[in-house]
């Protein structure tokens, strides 16, 4: 049985502070758009050109609401990613440490267990992280 390679963690997801920055930038853009519309400097190419003031306010309000919903979802996903990645890193370190401990304590005869642990470690890191945590292959093994 060959040992699967653990998936690499993509570190490129937007961090919560970046989401917040995006939210504040977007709010400022909406504010600029409102000021532009108030001074009637909207160009004919704009999608807001030709709207009545009430229609324009509704459009801005809808955009702001949509932005808030979007940012709530982005923040939730971003925080979840922070927690999950942190968990994976900790679990991997712990499992590696346990494999090393078994090797050191039992030497050659423990090689079968070491292989099993290595296989389970690889499987574990590729499955659902939070679910896998509850059934960690390392829990209760080698800790004794």
């Amino acid at each position: 049985m060959s040992c699967q390679k653990a998936p690499a963690i993509d570190s490129g997801w937007p961090r919560p502070w970046q989401v917040l920055e995006y939210f504040e930038n977007s709010l400022e853009s909406l504010g600029s758009l409102q000021r532009e519309a108030a001074s009637r400097e909207i160009r004919p190419e704009s999608r807001f050109y030709g709207l009545t003031p009430d229609e324009f306010s509704d459009a801005i309000e809808r955009t702001r609401n949509e932005l808030e919903h979007q940012v709530v979802l982005l923040l939730t996903a971003s925080f979840e990613a922070v927690l999950k990645v942190d968990l994976v890193i900790r679990c991997r370190q712990r499992c590696r440490q346990k494999v090393a401990n078994v090797r050191e304590r039992h030497g050659g005869p423990a090689e079968r267990h070491v292989r099993q642990l290595a296989v389970r470690l690889a499987e574990y890191t590729s499955i659902d992280i939070l679910g896998g945590c509850r059934q960690s292959p390392c829990s209760g093994w080698g800790a004794r």
Binding site: A37, P44, S46, F48, Y49, G50, L51
Partner: protein
């Protein structure tokens, strides 16, 4: 309080400046020009539909609609109703104080709506979305029939 009274004075100055810049006569003439332009527009549109009306293909009715705008207040403006066997098209003014433009009239059916924007006095353009960009198509007899065609289909 000195700061508050300074600010109060600044607001008073601003309001005076605006009051001097825009008198009641300005507002009245703005509204009258707008209504006159609407009457001219509807007369033009009716003249383009005379032939179809004579052939009994459609019927044009003129009516009035009440508009309410922040600076212009409440006023009555003309509107047209084009009644065809299938659908009736309302040609109804939406307001003089429009973002970026000087007035707007909507061509609407229960299913769709096309905007006719007054870019300056007596100058009208249909708003069209072409290749993801909004552009203006000047009001001509041809563009009018094209709009009617898309609304009636």
């Amino acid at each position: 309080m000195q700061v508050a009274s300074d600010k109060q004075q600044a607001v008073y100055e601003l309001l005076k400046e605006r009051r001097d810049a825009e008198t009641a006569t300005d507002v009245d003439s703005l509204r009258e020009d707008w209504i006159q332009d609407l009457s001219d527009l509807f007369e033009r549109l009716r003249s383009w539909m005379t032939d179809a009306e004579k052939q009994g293909l459609l019927k044009v009715e003129q009516d009035e609609v009440e508009l309410k705008e922040e600076r212009l207040g409440r006023y009555q403006a003309p509107m047209l109703r084009v009644i065809t066997p299938g659908v009736s098209v309302r040609i109804v003014p939406r307001g003089r104080l429009i973002i970026g433009a000087q007035g707007r009239v909507d061509f609407e059916t229960p299913a769709s709506r096309i905007l006719l924007v007054r870019t300056k006095q007596s100058s009208w353009e249909f708003r069209e979305l072409a290749e993801c960009r909004w552009r203006g198509d000047p009001l001509t007899e041809q563009s009018f029939w094209a709009v009617l065609d898309s609304l009636l289909r």
